[in-house]
């Protein structure tokens, strides 16, 4: 039974092997075919994922109506002490199999798209090597059976995203963005690490399955000890889970740890489609889902998840309405949608009907992956042609880029939650869950949904309608935000090669189709099928709001007019604040540049040179003076001084010993 799934090992292993091969030999020997090698290996991984999903969901994953958690493979990698060890293992359960499909499919689409997008780049092989490394890390993360294993792959995901964001390494803004992404998530990971230490210490194990078993049994000694120990009024369970969530919030760009995500758009656009849409940014949601049974034992931790998620969803949606860089709009939109997934988990219970939120969250994660990566790739397609990220440089592209236009429109409809597109189904489930559990959250969710429709169609109309299309197909905007390293190397006419269109078409088909997957039968909090149905009466309000928001966006942006500017100036300070992203970045910059550097770093560096070292020098000088006084020697030879010093201590020590005796 267990070895049935051993072949899953190849799914992460193939990208790893590809990374090693391309990393070592790519630039020299495989420069031309590295893209094909990467894509080919990932295609194999994707097919294997589909095989695994078919086998798990439809053949033998279910025993007595319940999907099983299967550990397909495990060995001890580093033993700390008996019981506590990092095991490298693979867990096969509904969410990991679902994620396998998501990550490999999106990654494959991004690989194919990149074949066209990155063509002619100097570091073409390196790009595909890093892409493989990232895919490997992400796959390792989702298959982890040990919480420390999660942390390891978590860090690897972080560093591969660093490498990808800083792909255009000679561009200072890209380097700054990659540093910011890594450092902010590193800070969050500190919380994750301490959370692991806490859970591991009280749970007596780092194995996820065992940890969940021990910490969800109210009578177990581990559960009693972790809930009875407390610090600052909160139990250690709350602390452990909250710190774990802090790590998740960092990777998933939840407020206030989100500041790295918009800047991370400096990377090549296909990279954003992979990392910042479907994979790394949902790692936090996945982590909470993975540990959900334990989270469900602690009301406080779940509340934190809920309110951080809801606040992020709203906050990001407001900012998204004011941004003009199309990738940044998408970045804030991602943050907002992930907030959705987070609060859906937060309001959920473990098991049964009340576990709707969990299922809805996973469903939204699934559908979002497709339409959001489509949006990013569509944006990539536009940027590839215009060499600019700015809305003002765009307009009227619907005729020049018909495929991109239709695909982008489908994705916008999906994210806006218009039936029958995928986003509608998952969003409805989230709204239903919120409606039943928490009316405040429901209100926030509804408002956010309307904002989402507005800013997405603001984006859509600005890119594809608004102005007349540029007369010349290759109107290069020289002063815009250039994403391309060597943009003179490739002049493009129209939409680019078929390798760039094909992924758009496939993903658009997914954005239409994946909503119809009977998700509630497959992925639920307790592995049992959940009865769900779309309630038409319930759906009227959210859908109507979305449609209204779309109409509003159309009236503002379909043709160039001054309505939006009027509204913006009517909002006054609030608009400016939102446009400036509510000054969160400024707070961070203040903290680092004005507090940590001048008040911690510099004083320490100064004190080290002048006080600590100064004291040592003083000691040496005093010794020197004394030896001068006593011996009257001024040979100036350090060796001599050292010897006297040495001899003196020796004499003193012998003296000490005898006195002491």
């Amino acid at each position: 039974m267990m070895s049935n799934y051993f072949y899953i090992l190849w799914i992460p292993l193939l990208p790893l092997i590809t990374f090693v091969i391309l990393g070592l030999f790519g630039r020299k020997y495989l420069a031309g075919i590295s893209g094909l090698i990467g894509t080919g290996s990932l295609l194999t991984s994707t097919l294997l994922s589909f095989v695994a999903a078919k086998q798990y969901f439809f053949v033998d994953g279910k025993v007595n109506g319940v999907f099983q958690k299967i550990v397909a493979f495990k060995f001890t990698w580093l033993e700390f002490s008996p019981g506590l060890s990092i095991d490298i293992g693979m867990i096969v359960d509904p969410i990991s199999v679902m994620m396998l499909v998501v990550v490999t499919s999106v990654s494959l689409m991004v690989h194919v798209f990149s074949l066209g997008y990155m063509k002619g780049e100097e570091r073409y092989a390196t790009y595909f090597a890093f892409l493989s490394l990232f895919t490997f890390s992400m796959l390792g993360l989702i298959l982890s059976s040990n919480i420390f294993q999660v942390y390891m792959f978590w860090e690897l995901v972080g560093v591969s995203s660093f490498l990808l964001i800083s792909y255009y390494f000679n561009k200072p803004s890209a380097v700054a963005a990659s540093k910011k992404a890594f450092i902010v998530t590193r800070f969050a990971d500190l919380g994750f690490l301490i959370g692991i230490l806490i859970l591991g210490y009280y749970g007596g194990t780092l194995d996820i399955g065992l940890l969940i078993e021990r910490l969800t049994t109210a009578s177990s000694t581990q559960f009693i000890s972790i809930t009875s120990a407390s610090f600052l009024g909160a139990s250690m369970l709350t602390w452990g889970l909250t710190l774990l969530f802090m790590g998740g919030a960092g990777k998933s760009a939840m407020f206030p740890l989100h500041i790295w995500l918009p800047d991370a758009m400096e990377g090549p656009t296909p990279v954003s489609a992979l990392i910042h849409a479907a994979t790394m940014v949902v790692a936090g949601v996945y982590l909470v889902a993975r540990m959900f049974p334990v989270f469900s034992m602690d009301e406080t931790a779940l509340n934190i998840v809920t309110y951080v998620g809801a606040a992020s969803a709203l906050f990001a949606a407001v900012i998204a309405c004011t941004q003009t860089d199309i990738k940044r709009v998408l970045a804030y939109s991602t943050m907002s949608q992930i907030g959705y997934m987070m609060f859906a988990l937060g309001i959920s219970k473990n098991g049964g009907e009340a576990g709707l939120g969990y299922m809805a969250s996973m469903f939204h994660l699934f559908t979002h992956a497709f339409f959001k990566s489509l949006l990013f790739l569509g944006a990539g397609s536009v940027i590839h042609m215009l060499h600019s990220n700015e809305m003002r440089d765009m307009g009227g592209l619907r005729k020049i880029m018909p495929v991109t236009h239709i695909a982008f429109l489908i994705a916008c409809l999906a994210i806006a939650g218009i039936p029958p597109f995928a986003g509608f189904f998952s969003k409805e489930e989230i709204l239903t869950a919120a409606f039943h559990e928490n009316k405040i959250i429901y209100g926030i969710a509804l408002f956010t949904a309307a904002l989402t429709s507005f800013y997405m169609f603001r984006l859509y109309f600005n890119i594809f309608w608004s102005k007349e299309a540029p007369t010349s197909n290759h109107a290069h905007i020289e002063n815009g935000h250039n994403t391309h390293d060597t943009h003179d190397a490739h002049d493009h006419h129209g939409e680019g090669p078929w390798v760039m269109k094909l992924p758009l078409i496939i993903l658009a088909a997914c954005a239409v189709g994946v909503g119809f997957i009977p998700f509630s039968n497959l992925v639920t909090s307790d592995g049992k099928a959940l009865e769900t149905h779309i309630d038409i009466v319930f759906s009227i309000v959210p859908v109507a709001l979305s449609v209204l928001a779309i109409l509003l966006a159309a009236s503002f942006y379909k043709n160039q007019n001054e309505k939006s500017d009027k509204v913006a100036s009517a909002l006054g300070g609030f608009y400016t604040a939102a446009h400036k992203k509510f000054y969160v970045d400024e707070v961070y910059i203040f903290m680092t540049k004005k507090i940590i550097f001048p008040f911690i770093g510099q004083p320490i560096a100064w004190a080290d040179r002048n006080i600590v070292d100064g004291f040592m020098l003083l000691l040496a000088k005093v010794t020197l003076k004394i030896s001068e006084l006593i011996k009257g020697l001024q040979s100036g030879k350090v060796q001599n001084y050292a010897m006297y010093f040495f001899g003196g201590i020796l004499a003193l020590s012998i003296l000490f010993i005898y006195i002491w005796k």
Binding site: R27, T76, W77, L78, E79, F80, S81, L84, I86, F148, Y151, M152, F153, E155, L156, V159, F162, S166, F169, N170, P172, V175, A176, S178, K179, F182, I183, R186, F187, L190, L193, I194, L197, G200, Y201, F597, I600, G601, Q602, I604, A605, D608, V612, D613, M616, A620, V638, Y641, A642, F645, F646, I649, L650, L652, S653, I654, F656, I657, W660, K661
Partner: protein, 493 residues
């Protein structure tokens, strides 16, 4: 096998170096000698594992004991356990890498290679000694070459740096000596095995432990006795920096560990001070690193922070944390040697180590830049590299101590990994990435010897980072013995 070979081969190499003429001959002899050391260390590892597999559970293997000074009861007593063996392997790897990066050292090359080999001999002797006096003797053998290496071949204010280093290490030695003599006068022996069996009276331990521990602490860059580290490393020539950080500082950490094992009661009594100093070193070192602008100073200050983890692991006095301390010693040795090697390669081409004057090196020298980034990633504890394994083991061990002050120390030390990320990425982002200047764009990438040196060290880092169970398997039985001794002695008193 005969452990004395570890001393004889370097000795023979050193003599040969004095006999041959010309840089070409000297460096070839040096390299052959270094490779012989590496081979010997590998053979030792193999024999050690075979003996263990055959069921030989003695604490120290390959022991031999000869009287040296009968009157003072000083013996040439040698033997190795897993921990000593790990340090020997580390040393031999760094020696080969160090010789390779010194390939074009044409200033007084004979003396240079002679001193490097002499230093390695002192280190081997130190690690195999089971007699405190012999141990001390080899410690001194390893100190003197450092003074000369910096003073003659160094850069910047080398005379001052060399003096500072020599004086502080001498002072450290003096403290060690006081501690060791104190033990001797109370037990009438220098023999580590005998002392462990007999135990040292608690009062004696409490009086002499601080001397010996702090003395070794000076070598291991324990706060506030670390100030020789930045200047010493910055002024030293590349190979000497590698030896200094990769080998010399490990003499201190290893010494601290042995002292804690010999005087467990005192170690328990003073553990809070040790932990306090270690935590300060970790945080303080990290923040001080953040403000540095010279690559060598960055690495030197970060060494203070990283070596703090060694002391922290020892101070926590449990099996996991001590395991972590040992892994950290090996890991830091490899990583920091790699870092200094990369910095040396950059400096020899650009003639500057100031971060602000560098930029975009990845474009001109992809190999060296990749090496630099790998060293950096290891330093910031990325999984897959040795730093992660070492630091996580220390954290895991430290956390097992339920005392909330110790927990706080663990959390604060953990916070240093964030600061580490800041300084590593700042240096990398500035020097390796970003735009490159026109004059640097034409520089050449690494030569074969530099590549080989880097590959060797990276291989070491990866072996620990990818398969930590191997090093764990080597050192864990020895830490078990140490824990057992600590427990036993506690019961006796």
């Amino acid at each position: 096998m005969n452990l004395t070979l570890l001393i004889l081969i370097p000795l023979l190499t050193a003599v040969m170096i004095l006999l041959v003429k010309g840089l070409q001959q000297i460096r070839v002899v040096g390299l052959i000698g270094a490779v012989a050391q590496l081979g010997l260390a590998g053979w030792l590892l193999n024999s050690f594992l075979n003996e263990r597999a055959a069921g030989n559970n003695a604490t120290y293997l390959f022991e031999s004991n000869h009287t040296w000074f009968k009157a003072l009861n000083i013996n040439y007593h040698i033997g190795v356990d897993g921990i000593a063996l790990a340090m020997i392997l580390l040393t031999s790897l760094i020696v080969v890498a160090g010789i390779l990066v010194s390939w074009t050292m044409d200033k007084l090359s004979k003396e240079y290679f002679f001193l490097l080999i002499l230093l390695s001999m002192g280190a081997y002797g130190f690690f195999i000694s089971l007699d405190l006096f012999t141990l001390f003797f080899f410690l001194e053998v390893a100190v003197i070459p450092k003074f000369l290496l910096i003073g003659i071949w160094g850069s910047g204010d080398k005379t001052k740096s060399a003096m500072k280093l020599a004086l502080m290490l001498m002072a450290g030695s003096a403290l060690v000596m006081v501690g060791l003599f104190g033990v001797y006068y109370n037990t009438n022996t220098f023999d580590i095995v005998k002392i462990t069996q007999l135990g040292i009276p608690v009062g004696v331990q409490k009086f002499f432990f601080p001397f010996a521990f702090l003395g070794f602490g000076v070598f291991a860059a324990l706060f506030p006795f670390h100030t020789w580290v930045p200047d010493g490393h910055a002024s030293a020539p590349t190979a000497a920096s590698m030896f200094l950080a990769g080998i010399s500082m490990k003499l201190g950490g290893y010494g601290c560990l042995r002292i804690a094992a010999l005087m467990p009661d005192a170690a328990h009594t003073y553990s809070w001070i040790i932990i306090l100093l270690a935590t300060i070193a970790i945080i303080y070192g990290a923040f001080a690193t953040m403000m540095q602008t010279d690559l060598k100073y960055i690495n030197a200050y970060s060494s203070i922070s990283h070596c703090g983890f060694v002391i922290l692991g020892i101070g926590m006095l449990n099996k996991t944390s001590i395991n972590g301390a040992v892994i950290q010693m090996v890991s830091h040795g490899l990583m920091t040697a790699l870092f200094f090697a990369a910095i040396g390669m950059i400096y020899s081409r650009t003639h500057t180590r100031m971060v602000a004057q560098l930029g975009g090196l990845l474009k001109a020298m992809p190999f060296i830049s990749t090496v630099f980034v790998i060293a950096g990633l290891c330093s910031l504890g990325l999984p897959g590299f040795s730093g992660f394994v070492a630091e996580m083991t220390v954290f895991m061990g430290s956390w097992q101590n339920p005392n909330s002050a110790y927990r706080l120390a663990t959390i604060l030390s953990g916070a240093s990994i964030v600061v580490t990320a800041v300084y590593i990425l700042r240096a990398t982002g500035r020097a390796i990435m970003g735009p490159i200047s026109a004059e640097h764009a034409l520089l050449k990438d690494a030569t074969w010897n530099e590549k080989l040196a880097a590959v060797l060290l990276i291989a070491g880092i990866l072996v620990i980072g990818l398969a930590p169970f191997l090093i764990n398997h080597l050192i864990m039985p020895s830490t078990d013995v140490i824990m057992l001794q600590m427990g036993k002695v506690n019961l006796l008193n």
